[in-house]
C-alpha cells in the first residue's frame, strides 16, 4: 500500500501514539507475508510447509530497518503479524475444512519443526473459535495466546506488547492454556 514512510517509521510513529500508523502498517505486513511465503514455498521447501513464526521473522527483516528499531518495536511488529497470521490460517482452514477436512494446516512441535511426518492436525478453527469466546471474557488472555501461538513471541515480548509485567504475562499464559485445554482437550480437539 501507499506509504512513503517505510515500516520502520510507521512502527516508530505508532509507538509514539499515532494510531493510524497501524492501519498503514497492517496491509504492508500482510502483503509481504504472503509474498515471502509464496516464494519460500516455490523454491525452498520441498515438503510445502512453512513455519509462520519463521515467516514473520523473515518479513520483519525485510521490512524493518534494523538500525532504527529497538526490541520493543520489534515486539509490536510481531504482535501485528501474529494477528495477521491467525487470520490467514483461520481463513484457510475454514475454506479447506469444507472440502477436505484438516488439509492444508499441520502443526509440529517447536523441536520437531523439520519432522513434519510426526505432525498432528492443528485445530485452527476450534482454537480460533475458543479464542473468540475467551476474548469476550478476558481479552488479554486471548491476545497472549495469539501472540505466542501465531506470532511466536516470547513471554517477555508478549508482556511488552500487552503492557503488563512479564510475571503477569506468564500467569496469564498459564491460565489461558488451562482454560483452552479444558475447552478443547489436551490435543486441541473439542
Amino acid at each position: 500500500m501507499v506509504s512513503p514512510r517505510d515500516v520502520t517509521a510507521l512502527l516508530a510513529d505508532w509507538s509514539r501514539g499515532n494510531r493510524t500508523a497501524l492501519n498503514q502498517l497492517l496491509p504492508l505486513v500482510y502483503a509481504e507475508l504472503r509474498r515471502v511465503a509464496a516464494r519460500q514455498l516455490r523454491s525452498e521447501r520441498a515438503d510445502h510447509t512453512l513455519q509462520p513464526t519463521a515467516l514473520v521473522n523473515e518479513v520483519y527483516i525485510r521490512l524493518v530497518d534494523q538500525r532504527q528499531v529497538d526490541w520493543q518495536n520489534r515486539a509490536h511488529f510481531f504482535g501485528v503479524a501474529a494477528n495477521v497470521m491467525r487470520r490467514i490460517l483461520v481463513d484457510h482452514a475454514r475454506r479447506h475444512t469444507a472440502s477436505k477436512r484438516g488439509e492444508g494446516v499441520r502443526c509440529v512441535s517447536i523441536d520437531e519443526a523439520k519432522d513434519v511426518a510426526a505432525s498432528n492436525g492443528m485445530p485452527i478453527l476450534a482454537l480460533d473459535h475458543a479464542l473468540d469466546r475467551l476474548e469476550t471474557m478476558d481479552a488479554d488472555l486471548a491476545k497472549i495466546v495469539e501472540l505466542r501461538a501465531f506470532g511466536g513471541l516470547t513471554i517477555d515480548e508478549a508482556a511488552h506488547v500487552l503492557s503488563v509485567s512479564p510475571s503477569t504475562a506468564k500467569r496469564d499464559w498459564r491460565t489461558a492454556k488451562a482454560w483452552l485445554t479444558r475447552e478443547l482437550g489436551s490435543d486441541g480437539r473439542p
Binding site: 512513503p4 496491509p27 490467514i88 512441535s109 501465531f150 503492557s163 485445554t181
Partner: protein, 978 residues
C-alpha cells in the same frame, strides 16, 4: 463489560496454581466458601493446567496452499457467520421454555416459547452467537431494544423485552398467530377493499413509530402479519438498524440483503422492497418506509412486487432506474390511490410523500375524486383536506405538493457508499467512459486490501482479485483495464477478470497515478523517497520504462507525478514537487526528450491537479476548483469555480478526486477530523462543558492564559491548517492557510506568538502572531527532515522540538535558540527514540519520552549554556513514569502524561525541582479517556482541566464517495466566460 465472576475464577486459579498441589484443596475450600459452583469452576481449570506440552506449544505450520490462495478469499472485516445451535424443545432460556421452532429470519431463529413467569405464549428470537460475542453491538442492541419496547400500538408486534442468559441473547416478542401478508399474497391480488383495510393499518403503525423517531427500514409482506381477528400487525420494527449495528449506510442497512446464517450457509433475501436510497447505501429517514409502503400497497393490488427481478442486481437496477408497470394496477383502483402509490414510489426521496399521514388521509377516502396527475382543481381540494389534518406536518405537505417532476437535470450527483467494513485509502479513479469507479482501501484490521470497482448502474462494489497492495489506479482508454502500482511494479488487470499482468519493474516506488493513451502508451509517476522520481512511459503491452521528464535536483525538485492526458493524447498535465518557487503544474509532451520538457509553470500549487475537457481541476485550501485551461496559450483563463470544499487530501500531495472526459467526477470529502467537539474534562475525566460547535478539531494547544486554543483541522499525519478558538465564545478563526504538514501550535510564553512545523513534509519551523496578523516567519528549515515543535521555554529563549527518522538515531530532541544565531543544537540523539520534550516552568529541566525502557517519561537538567558553550542536557536522568509514559506536559509542580499507544489513560506525577536533585513521586492514574490520538487534547494552565477534541460518534461512519455525472453541464452554466 467485565465478567466479575470470571475475574474471581481467574484470581483464584492463579493463586491456587502457585501453591503446592497438596495445599490447593484447603486453599480453595477457604476461598470459595459455600460457592460450590465457583469451586468446581476453578478446579476444572486446575485439572486442565498442565506443564506438559500440549497443542498450544506447537506452532501452526501451513501448507503451500495457505498463502497461495487467491486473495478473493481473504478474510474480510466481518468474519463469515458461524453456525449456531438449534435449540431443542424443552430447553430453557431464562424463564422461557422453548416449545417449537417457528422459523428462521435474518436475525436468528424464532421459537414459540412459554413465559413460565407470566404464563403466556411468546415468540423468542434467539440471536446468533456471534452477535452476543460482539460487546459493542450487544450493548447497542440492548439500548435499541429498550427503545423499541416503548412502541405500544395495536398494529405493531410488541417487543416485550430482552432476555440475556448464559451465552444467549433473545428478543421476547408478542406471539401473533396467523399468516403473513406474504403468505396471503401467494394466492394473488386482493380486492381494493381488503387492500385498503390492510394498508390503512400499516400506515397507522408507521405513523405511530415515525412519531417516536423509529423507522422500520425493512417493511415487506413477510414482516406484516394478519392476525386471526383480522388485525394487522407490523413486525420487526427498527430491528434492521439494530441488526446492521452501524450508521445507516452501506447496502447492508437493508436486512433483506443481510446474510442469513443457517448452519453455515449464506442466504440472501430479496431487496425488492428496498428504497433507492437504501440500495445506494445512503442515509435513511422515514421516507424509506414510505417507499416500502408503496411497494406493499402496489403488490396487494396487483399480486406482484413493483420491482421484482430474477437476480439481486436486476432488482436493484429496477429500483434505481425503472418505473413499475402502472398498467398492472386494476382499473378499479381509484385515481387517488394510484397517485398515492406513484408518490410513494418517487425515486428521489425529496419528491416522495414525506409523511405517512398523507397516505392515511388518502386511504380514509380512497374513492374521493382525487387528482389525476394534472388536475389542479382536485389537487387544491386535497390540499385543503390535508391542511385540515392537524397531524400533518409541514414536511408532509411539501412532499404532497411536489406533483410534477422536474425536468431531468443534466448534472446529477449521488453518494457511492463504501462497502461495509472497508476503509478507504488514498485513491479514487473514474473510468474514461464515465460509468465506473475504482478506489483503494486498507482494511481497518488490515485484512482487506486492494482495488474495488463498481459500475454506476449497480450499487454493488466488487473487489478485484490480484490487486493486493495496489495504489495509483488509472484506466485504459476503453475502460476495460485498470493499471495500478504495487510498490515498484506497474501492473494491469482486466476488470472482467483474470490475473494481473506486470508491465514493468522500477528501481523506485511508483506513485501518484498515471495515464494511458489511445496509442497504447502508459505514463506514470515515481517517488524516489527523496532521491527524486521523474515521469516514465511504458507500452501497454509491457517492457522497459523510459523516463520522459527529468527531475531538476539543482532547483530542489523532488519528484514528478500525476499526469493526466490532454485531448490529443500526446500531451499531459502533471505536477512537479519541490520548493515553492518551482512546485506546481506543468504541461509535457510524451515524445519530447526529458531535458526538453517545458519549464513553464501554469499554476503554482502544493497539490497535483487533473485535466479534463478543457478544464484544470486543482486544489486550494482544501477546496477543489475547476478553471478553463488554454493549452495553446499555456494559461488558465476565466474564473475558478469551486466544485467542493473540504476535499480530502493525502500525504502524497493529492486530493482524493478523479475526473474523466466521459463526464464523471468522483471525490471524497474529509470526515476524519470533522465533527469533533471541543470538550472540557475535569481531572476525573468527567465532561464539564463544551466549546463552540463540532468542527474539524484536532491537535489542541491551549494558550498560556487558558483563554484560547489553537487547533488544527487535520490529524498529525494529514495536511491541514491551524485555527484559533476563543474559548469564551467558541468563535473559530483561521490562523494559517498553508495546507501543509503537520504539527500543533506551540505558544510563546506571553501568548502573542505561536510556533509550528510546516513546509514540505514538516521540513520548516515557522512562527506567527497568534492574532493571525502578518505572515509566517521561517525559524528554521532543513529539507528532508520532519520537525515537531513541542515547547517554548518560559523565558522565551528556546524552542524545543524533535526530528523524525534520522538514520541510526531515529527520533531526536533538538533545541532552537530564538535569540542570537538561531542555530539548533541536538540535545539527545542516541540509538533510542526521544520525542515530545517539554521545558519545566523554570526552564531548568526538560521532560521527554524515550524508548530507552520501552516507552517512558524522563527528566533531565537543561543547561542554557552547556560545557561547550551551547545548550545541552546536564548530568542525571530520572524516569518519572512507572511502566509506560508518553507525551508529557509540565504544569507547575506536576507532570501529566499518557500511555499511548497501548492505552488512553492520563497520569499525573508530582515533581520537586526546588533542590539540586530532581525528585518525583509515584505516578497516579487520573482517568481513561474514551479516545486518544496524538495531540487530541491539552491541559489547562492550572492543570485542573483538559480540553479534548472529542469525536461525536464512537465510530465514524464510512464516508461515501461523491459521484457527479455530466459535470461539464453544470460547469458551463457556472462559468459564463467559457
Amino acid at each position: 463489560m467485565i465478567d466479575e465472576r470470571w475475574l474471581r475464577v481467574k484470581a483464584l486459579f492463579q493463586a491456587a496454581v502457585e501453591r503446592p498441589a497438596e495445599e490447593r484443596d484447603a486453599f480453595l475450600a477457604a476461598a470459595t466458601g459455600d460457592d460450590a459452583a465457583l469451586r468446581r469452576e476453578v478446579e476444572s481449570l486446575l485439572t486442565s493446567d498442565t506443564s506438559d506440552r500440549n497443542f498450544l506449544d506447537r506452532l501452526p505450520v501451513a501448507s503451500a496452499s495457505v498463502l497461495a490462495d487467491p486473495p478473493a478469499a481473504l478474510p474480510t472485516a466481518m468474519d463469515p457467520p458461524r453456525s449456531h445451535g438449534v435449540l431443542a424443545a424443552g430447553r430453557r432460556v431464562g424463564p422461557y421454555e422453548i416449545l417449537a421452532p417457528l422459523g428462521a429470519g435474518a436475525m436468528g431463529e424464532v421459537y414459540r416459547a412459554r413465559d413460565t413467569k407470566l404464563n403466556r405464549s411468546v415468540a423468542l428470537k434467539v440471536l446468533p452467537e456471534r452477535f452476543a460475542l460482539d460487546r459493542d453491538r450487544s450493548a447497542r442492541f440492548t439500548r435499541e431494544a429498550q427503545l423499541l419496547a416503548t412502541l405500544n400500538h395495536p398494529n405493531i408486534g410488541a417487543i416485550y423485552g430482552l432476555e440475556e442468559s448464559t451465552g444467549a441473547q433473545a428478543l421476547v416478542l408478542e406471539l401473533i398467530e396467523g399468516p403473513t401478508l406474504a403468505d396471503r399474497l401467494v394466492r394473488g391480488p386482493m380486492s381494493l377493499n381488503e387492500a385498503v383495510t390492510i394498508a390503512r393499518q400499516i400506515a397507522e403503525a408507521l405513523s405511530a413509530a415515525h412519531e417516536k423517531g423509529i423507522i422500520h427500514r425493512d417493511l415487506k409482506p413477510a414482516n406484516i402479519k394478519i392476525a386471526r381477528d383480522g388485525v394487522v400487525k407490523v413486525l420487526d420494527f427498527g430491528l434492521a438498524k439494530v441488526w446492521d449495528g452501524g450508521p445507516q449506510s452501506g447496502v447492508s442497512a437493508s436486512p433483506t440483503l443481510t446474510a442469513t446464517d443457517l448452519g453455515g450457509r449464506t442466504i440472501l433475501g430479496t431487496p425488492a422492497y428496498m428504497s433507492p436510497e437504501q440500495a445506494r447505501g445512503q442515509s435513511l429517514d422515514k421516507r424509506t418506509d414510505i417507499w416500502s409502503f408503496g411497494c406493499v400497497l402496489y403488490e396487494m393490488l396487483t399480486g406482484r412486487a413493483p420491482f421484482a427481478g430474477d437476480t439481486i442486481s436486476d432488482t436493484l437496477a429496477a429500483i434505481l432506474e425503472r418505473e413499475p408497470d402502472w398498467s398492472a394496477l386494476p382499473a378499479t383502483v381509484p385515481a387517488a390511490v394510484r397517485t398515492l402509490i406513484r408518490r410513494c414510489l418517487e425515486k428521489d426521496g425529496r419528491q416522495r410523500i414525506a409523511d405517512i399521514a398523507v397516505a392515511q388521509f388518502v386511504l380514509e377516502h380512497p374513492a374521493e375524486q382525487a387528482p389525476s396527475d394534472a388536475a389542479p382543481a382536485a389537487r387544491l381540494r386535497l390540499w385543503q383536506g390535508l391542511a385540515a389534518l392537524s397531524t400533518v406536518t409541514a414536511l408532509g405537505l411539501v412532499g404532497w405538493t411536489l406533483w410534477s417532476k422536474p425536468s431531468p437535470g443534466h448534472t446529477s450527483r449521488f453518494e457511492a457508499a463504501l462497502p461495509e467494513g472497508v476503509t478507504f485509502y488514498g485513491y479514487v479513479s473514474v473510468s474514461p467512459d464515465g460509468r465506473k469507479l475504482a478506489f483503494t482501501d486498507v482494511g481497518a484490521a488490515g485484512n482487506t486490501i486492494g482495488l474495488w470497482i463498481r459500475d454506476f448502474s449497480n450499487p454493488e462494489w466488487h473487489p478485484l482479485p490480484g490487486t493486493e497492495s495496489a495504489g495509483s489506479p488509472f484506466w485504459s482508454p476503453d475502460s476495460r483495464y485498470l493499471a495500478f502500482a504495487t510498490g515498484n511494479q506497474l501492473k494491469k488487470i482486466a476488470i472482467a477478470g483474470g490475473p494481473p499482468q506486470t508491465l514493468c519493474s522500477m528501481p523506485m516506488r511508483i506513485e501518484g497515478s498515471g495515464a494511458w493513451n489511445r496509442n497504447g502508451v502508459i505514463i506514470f509517476g515515481s517517488w524516489g523517497g527523496g532521491a527524486g522520481g521523474p515521469l516514465w512511459k511504458v507500452p501497454e503491452t509491457g517492457g522497459a520504462a523510459t523516463a520522459i521528464t527529468e527531475v531538476d535536483a539543482s532547483k530542489g525538485e523532488l519528484y514528478h507525478t500525476w499526469p493526466t492526458l490532454t485531448e490529443d493524447g500526446e500531451h499531459f498535465v502533471y505536477f512537479r514537487s519541490g520548493p515553492p518557487e518551482v512546485e506546481g503544474i506543468y504541461v509535457g509532451s510524451i515524445d519530447a526528450k526529458p531535458a526538453e520538457q517545458s519549464r513553464e509553470r501554469i499554476l503554482a500549487t502544493e497539490f497535483a491537479s487533473s485535466y479534463a475537457n478543457g478544464y484544470l481541476f486543482f486544489i486550494r485550501a482544501n477546496t477543489l476548483l475547476a478553471q478553463s485551461l488554454d493549452l495553446r496559450g499555456m494559461k488558465l483563463t476565466g474564473e475558478a469555480v469551486p466544485v467542493t470544499d473540504a476535499l480530502e487530501t493525502t500525504w502524497f500531495r493529492t486530493g482524493v478526486f478523479s475526473v474523466s472526459s466521459g463526464g464523471a467526477l468522483a471525490y471524497r470529502t474529509r470526515a476524519a477530523s470533522g465533527d469533533r467537539q471541543l470538550t472540557w474534562l475535569d481531572r476525573q475525566g468527567k465532561r464539564l462543558s463544551t466549546v463552540g460547535q463540532p468542527d474539524q478539531n484536532a491537535q489542541v494547544s491551549l494558550s498560556p492564559d487558558g483563554s484560547r486554543a489553537a487547533v488544527r483541522d487535520a490529524f498529525y499525519d494529514q495536511v491541514g491548517d491551524l485555527w484559533m478558538v476563543d474559548l469564551a465564545n467558541g468563535r473559530r478563526t483561521r490562523l494559517t492557510l498553508l495546507r501543509s504538514d503537520y504539527s500543533p501550535a506551540v505558544w510563546s510564553p506571553d501568548g502573542s506568538r505561536i510556533a509550528f512545523a510546516g513546509g514540505n513534509l514538516g521540513d520548516t519551523l515557522y512562527e506567527k502572531a497568534s492574532s493571525g496578523v502578518g505572515d509566517e516567519k521561517v525559524l528554521w528549515k532543513e529539507p528532508g527532515t520532519r520537525h515537531y515543535p513541542t515547547s517554548w521555554s518560559r523565558d522565551g529563549r528556546f524552542l524545543l522540538y524533535h526530528t523524525e527518522n534520522t538514520p541510526k538515531t531515529g527520533y531526536d530532541l533538538w533545541v532552537l535558540p530564538l535569540q542570537g544565531d538561531h542555530k539548533p543544537e541536538r540535545l539527545l540523539g542516541d540509538a533510542f527514540n526521544e520525542w515530545a520534550g517539554v521545558f519545566s516552568p523554570d526552564t531548568r529541566w526538560i521532560a521527554y519520552a524515550s524508548t530507552e525502557t520501552g516507552g517512558n517519561v524522563y527528566v533531565r537538567p537543561f543547561l542554557a549554556v552547556g560545557p561547550s558553550g551551547v545548550p545541552a542536557v546536564g548530568e542525571g536522568k530520572w524516569q518519572v513514569s512507572k511502566d509506560i509514559g508518553n507525551w508529557p506536559k509540565w504544569i507547575g509542580k506536576e507532570i501529566v502524561f499518557n500511555d499511548l499507544p497501548s492505552g488512553t489513560s492520563e497520569f499525573t506525577v508530582q515533581v520537586n525541582t526546588s533542590g539540586a536533585v530532581f525528585e518525583s513521586g509515584i505516578p497516579e492514574r487520573l482517568f481513561t479517556a474514551p479516545v486518544a490520538y496524538l495531540g487530541d487534547y491539552d491541559v489547562s494552565p492550572d492543570a485542573q482541566r483538559f480540553l479534548w477534541a472529542m469525536p461525536q460518534a464512537q465510530r465514524t461512519a464510512p464516508v461515501a464517495i461523491t459521484v457527479v455525472l455530466n459535470w461539464q453541464e453544470e460547469l458551463k452554466q457556472r462559468m459564463p466566460t467559457k
